[in-house]
């Protein structure tokens, strides 16, 4: 790449000539009015000067004054042109709209090829809109797509927004870091300069007071300073290496879809399960099954009697408890346990409980929590 920048001498004058064109409405030219500004309306992108806009559209919407264009324009919509080429200006407006709808991202797709196909389709739609091919049909498809994929679109939107935010934060952070480092460097330089001056003064003093060899004194002094500066440098280097500056995030590219093939199924993350304090250990009864209903006269009454139920009395609880008590102790063999204890290494009850809690299978011994 040749670095020689050829600034052609003719450029500036050309530039003036290009910009100094004439308002198509009132025919005043920039040559006469250097402050003239041109505005366009994204309805029809016809260019006219500011004063014409004021004149024609101040009293509400009016038709475009350019011959052959009958569109109704509003003053509020007029704006400054960003791009020199009005075609591009229009294109970008269309793209803005498209980008809002079609904001699928590469990770939404199974393969790169699918993503690329998606990109191409979107580009085709955009192309149609820009060049006025099958506009109606295209618009219809796009609208349908937008309707169908409302959720995905808004999701991707928020992801993009988040990304933008974090990018901004990162940029700010980086700037700050650079500023800090710059300051550090300045301080360091200052310190060094001061030290050098000190050293020089020291040497002069030494030369004045002692009668050693001048050269060796000077060398001595120099060495001290060098050592100091080396040490300082090492310290700084170390400090820099510890910079909390490792956060490098991928710059993912955002993008979007119609009925695009290869789209990954978006699975909403499974809802989080409620917290289980027993870590999966459940109190399943091994020896009995609690029935919903027991035919027991005096109990059936209590079941419906408002005096009991109002207090929160539940017959089922009662049954469960009764059964539990009845069966407690089942499957417990005291001899075995005692024998185990005699061996000496038997775990205490508490540790056994812990062990059981850890393993999936509930132990009958521990069943009795009441």
């Amino acid at each position: 790449m040749s670095r020689a920048a050829q600034r052609s001498g003719a450029t500036p004058s050309k530039r003036l000539a290009e910009d100094g064109d004439i308002c198509p409405v009132c025919k005043s030219s920039r040559y006469l009015n250097p402050n003239m500004r041109f505005l366009v309306n994204p309805e029809c992108y016809h260019k006219m000067c500011e004063s014409c806009v004021d004149r024609i559209f101040s009293h509400g919407p009016a038709p475009c004054p350019i011959a052959g264009c009958r569109r109704t324009l509003r003053k509020a919509k007029f704006r400054k042109q960003t791009f020199e080429d009005i075609q591009v200006e229009r294109e970008v407006d269309i793209r803005r709209r498209m980008a809002k709808t079609f904001n699928r991202r590469e990770d939404d797709f199974v393969s790169l090829l699918d993503y690329n196909d998606y990109l191409e389709k979107v580009e085709n739609f955009t192309w149609n809109l820009i060049n006025g091919v099958d506009i109606e049909e295209t618009e219809k498809t796009i609208a349908a797509y937008a309707e169908e994929n409302r959720r995905e679109i808004s999701r991707n939107e928020s992801v993009a927004a988040q990304e933008a935010q974090s990018r901004k934060a990162r940029a700010a952070e980086e700037l700050e870091l650079i500023r800090l480092r710059r300051e550090d460097a300045r301080r360091e330089d200052e310190l060094e300069r001061r030290e050098k001056a000190d050293m020089r003064r020291g040497i002069i003093n030494k030369l004045a007071t002692t009668d050693g060899d001048a050269a060796s004194i000077a060398r001595e002094g120099q060495r001290v300073v060098l050592k100091k500066s080396l040490a300082r440098r090492a310290a700084i280097d170390k400090q820099r290496d510890n910079d909390p500056f490792a956060a490098s995030t991928e710059n993912g590219e955002a993008s979007s879809g119609l009925i695009f093939k290869g789209l990954k199924k978006w699975v909403p993350p499974a809802p989080e399960k409620p917290y289980d304090p027993f870590g999966g250990w459940s109190v399943e009864n091994e020896y009995f099954v609690l029935q919903d209903h027991y035919d027991w006269d005096w109990l059936s009454q209590a079941q419906t009697d408002i005096r009991h139920t109002a207090g929160g009395y539940d017959v089922n609880d009662y049954c469960a408890r009764a059964l539990c008590e009845a069966f407690s102790g089942f499957g417990v063999f005291i001899e075995d346990e005692v024998a185990g204890r005699n061996v000496g290494s038997a775990p205490s009850i508490a540790t056994a409980a812990a062990a059981v809690t850890g393993s999936e299978k509930p132990d009958v011994n521990m069943d009795d929590i009441f």
Binding site: E84, W127, R200
Partner: protein, 791 residues
């Protein structure tokens, strides 16, 4: 001369060898044996190239694997010189060995220098030659021809296809001239001969760019194997070459031309759609499948190649939204329009690539990824459209290159927009600089790829700067001194005028009349006393002009005029070469002349002033870079942040390497002699940054002189030099014959034995009394410190 280094037999094409050459070769061999990189500083005029070549060729021929040598130099003339040396060396080897070795050595330069096509070669600009050649030699042109269509082709190129691909040219060393002659005789294109024969060569000599510029390297140097020996000669500016190879500038004008190019493309696409839609469809199909140039087995005719380094190439299919030709063209249009709007801004902007990409996306919805593929997509399109007038698309290509680069690299690059040419300009004329700040980026693949990279030059001090800046490790870093039988050059530092006023080109006093007058006196004195040529270097054109006009006003030039013809270098290369020619004539006919030139100009780099062409060189002022340049500022900041090289450290290093280059201009051999004057007070402190061989000759008593003292010293020196002097006196001291070499070797051996013995003794007993090396190399400092004291 024939001798052994360790067990390696070396044939040296001269009867005598300099001690430093021998040492240089020993170190080279050590580097090659160890397999690593090295930085070597060899005094100018001591036969660096020939030592290099004879050692490496000896090494190649001795070892069965025959590692290839890639010798990179900077300019055409240096390449030619190296080729001539190589040729002489091989001739000598043949004579000595009694048989001809199977050996090929070729040089490669641009098409412009090697073209034989009667009309193409007459083009003035290199890029036009390239473009026209491509349109004659592209693959599709040949296809068309075969189909019987009437297309223009280049016979020189087509004849090559009739030969065996590995034997386009007989073995031997071919200088560029020889290659041209052979090509003319056999009606073969020398350029493509050289290109295609590169894999079959033992030695390749070409310019840095073929290895460092990714656009070229990708095409030219791709097939070179890992065990090649790479040499960068005259490498003191290698960091700048690296940076330039990845930087790019855009102007409004180039953008306008690019727009024109896009519109042309658009038209061509429409045309092709109506006539030959199938071709576009084929291209599209290929892109969909992500087939990357599968059919481009020989892509030497590629319009442009990817400007990014091979490691950074994206190896996937072209993104969907630029797959279709018309989509891509619209994409380019949008991008160019965006750049145009950026150019309208009237204040300086410096921006990192990520921030640029962000803004771009906000405004035009161009994503980073398609941008990255720009260069490649454009190449593919151009090929599909079978465009022949490729030179029209140059600006477009530049934009695409820019796009690819900015989308590929996040760090180490900066975007700087300068709306005005200078501080005072009122009419905007913007330039968008996309500048690489990190020299290591471009050269990194070279270090990674090749096991031995040798970086050498006459002036590389301080040596450790290069490994730091270019981010690599070395096996050997060494600076050689110059052995001289008599002191044949006299470096001096002039710090004061005859009136004891300080002289300096420092900013505060540079236009001080007394300083200017003192510089004028210096010039007149040296013009009076020097026989033949005097060369004067200034830090910049601006400064030179102002001084010359002041001298004119003071009548100094009139005095100088009496003794010497005055000639001035200008930025215009044609004018300068005319001035040089006149200068040479004046020196030849005995009157002598004085050439006023610039330390960073053409003269300071490529032109030798040997013997009577340069007896005195005056370096007026320290040639610092223009520090207000935004690009330089950004680079300094980058160096500090990344490599911890301080601003001042770098600036002073850079100034001194240029000063040393200037000084080296006058001493081009051992029988040459010359005076080197550094005229600035600040040189006194920077002495230690001069190359070792100059430092060593710069005596303390000459390190701070006034103008008249310097003149007296110079007179004494010249008187000494005028004493008749025969080469015989150098024998054994600064040049060695075979006997001297044998003696030296014997001595080294004895010393080695003694050292080993001592080591053994030390190991046996006293471990305690290990002598601590002075880690700061004490003697370098005392003079400077003392010198500083008398401020």
């Amino acid at each position: 001369m024939k001798f052994n280094i360790d067990t390696l037999p070396v044939l040296f094409p001269y009867p005598r060898i300099y001690p430093e050459q021998y040492e240089y070769m020993c170190d080279l061999k050590r580097t090659l044996d160890a397999g690593g990189h090295c930085v070597l500083e060899m005094p100018s005029g001591t036969g660096k190239t020939v030592s290099l070549l004879s050692l490496i060729v000896a090494y190649q021929q001795h070892h069965p694997e025959k590692r290839k040598l890639i010798y990179c130099s900077r300019t055409m003339s240096e390449i030619e010189k190296a080729l001539a040396e190589l040729k002489a060396l091989m001739k000598y080897r043949t004579e000595q060995l009694g048989y001809e070795e199977e050996f090929r050595g070729l040089g490669l330069t641009s098409r412009k220098n090697l073209c034989l096509h009667p009309s193409v070669k007459r083009e003035k600009s290199g890029s036009v030659v390239d473009a026209r050649c491509r349109s004659l030699t592209a693959g599709f042109v040949k296809e068309k021809k075969e189909r019987g269509e009437d297309v223009e082709v280049c016979v020189y190129h087509d004849n090559l296809d009739l030969l065996e691909p590995h034997n386009l040219i007989p073995p031997g060393v071919w200088t560029l001239d020889g290659l041209l002659k052979y090509g003319e005789q056999q009606k073969l294109c020398p350029y493509f001969t050289a290109r295609r024969m590169m894999p079959f060569c033992n030695v390749i000599i070409y310019s840095y760019h073929y290895l460092l510029d990714p656009k070229i390297a990708e095409r030219v140097s791709k097939e070179l194997s890992k065990d090649c020996i790479v040499v960068f000669d005259e490498a003191h500016n290698i960091d700048n070459v690296c940076i330039e190879s990845l930087s790019i500038d855009l102007t409004e004008d180039s953008l306008r031309k690019a727009t024109r190019g896009v519109n042309n493309l658009d038209r061509k696409i429409t045309e092709m759609k109506s006539t030959d839609a199938e071709k576009l469809q084929n291209e599209y199909a290929k892109l969909v499948e992500g087939l990357r140039e599968a059919d481009e087995a020989r892509n030497e005719d590629a319009f442009m190649s990817n400007p990014t380094l091979p490691d950074d190439l994206l190896k996937e299919a072209v993104p969907g939204n630029i797959r279709r030709a018309e989509h891509f063209v619209a994409f380019l249009k949008r991008f160019i329009e965006y750049l145009k709007t950026r150019m309208k801004v009237l204040h300086v902007i410096s921006e990192t690539p990520p921030s640029f990409l962000n803004h771009l996306k906000e405004l035009t919805f161009i994503e980073r990824k398609p941008l990255r593929f720009c260069a490649e997509r454009l190449t593919s399109l151009v090929r599909t459209l079978e465009l022949t007038n490729i030179e029209d698309y140059q600006p477009l290509q530049e934009v695409a290159t820019f796009a690819t680069l900015i989308a590929t690299y996040e760090t180490g690059f900066l975007l700087i927009l300068e709306p005005f040419e200078s501080e005072t300009a009122t009419v905007p004329n913007p330039i968008l600089h996309f500048t690489c700040l990190d020299a290591a980026i471009a050269i990194q693949p070279v270090f990674d790829r090749f096991s031995s990279v040798i970086i050498t030059s006459g002036t590389m001090s301080p040596l450790d700067m290069y490994p730091k800046m270019l981010n690599f490790g070395t096996v050997i870093q060494k600076s050689y001194t110059m052995t001289l039988a008599r002191k044949s050059f006299l470096p001096m530092v002039v710090t004061r005028g005859s009136d004891q006023g300080v002289v300096s080109s420092g900013f505060q006093i540079r236009n001080d009349p007394s300083v200017v007058r003192n510089y004028g006196n210096l010039l007149t004195e040296f013009c009076k006393l020097t026989p033949d040529g005097v060369v004067v270097f200034f830090p910049s054109y601006l400064y030179m002009e102002s001084i010359i006009s002041m001298w004119q006003g003071m009548g100094i030039l009139d005095v100088v005029w009496k003794y010497k013809l005055i000639l001035v270098e200008t930025p215009d290369s044609q004018e300068t070469s005319l001035a040089l020619e006149t200068y040479r004539t004046a020196c030849n006919n005995g009157r002598g002349a004085v050439l006023l030139c610039v330390a960073r100009g053409k003269v300071s780099e490529g032109i030798d002033f040997d013997h009577h062409y340069g007896r005195t060189v005056l370096c007026i002022g320290v040639p610092f870079q223009y520090t207000e340049s935004r690009i330089l500022k950004a680079r300094l900041e980058f160096l500090r942040e990344t490599y911890r090289i301080k601003e001042n450290e770098f600036l002073s290093f850079d100034a001194m390497r240029h000063a040393a280059q200037c000084l080296g201009r006058v001493l081009r051999g051992k029988d040459d002699y010359g005076i080197m004057v550094l005229a600035d007070k600040r040189f006194q402190k920077k002495r230690s940054q001069l190359p070792k061989w100059i430092q060593q000759a710069l005596e303390d008593r000459y390190s701070s002189l006034s103008v008249d003292q310097a003149a007296a010293a110079a007179k004494a020196f010249l008187r000494e030099m005028s004493v008749p002097w025969t080469r015989a006196e150098q024998e054994g001291v600064s040049t060695w014959g075979p006997e001297d070499l044998a003696r030296h070797k014997a001595k080294m051996e004895i010393e080695e034995i003694r050292r080993l013995e001592e080591e053994a003794i030390n190991a046996n007993g006293a471990i305690g009394d290990v002598v601590m090396e002075d880690e700061f190399g004490g003697d370098e400092f005392d003079d400077t410190v003392l010198a500083e004291l008398d401020v």
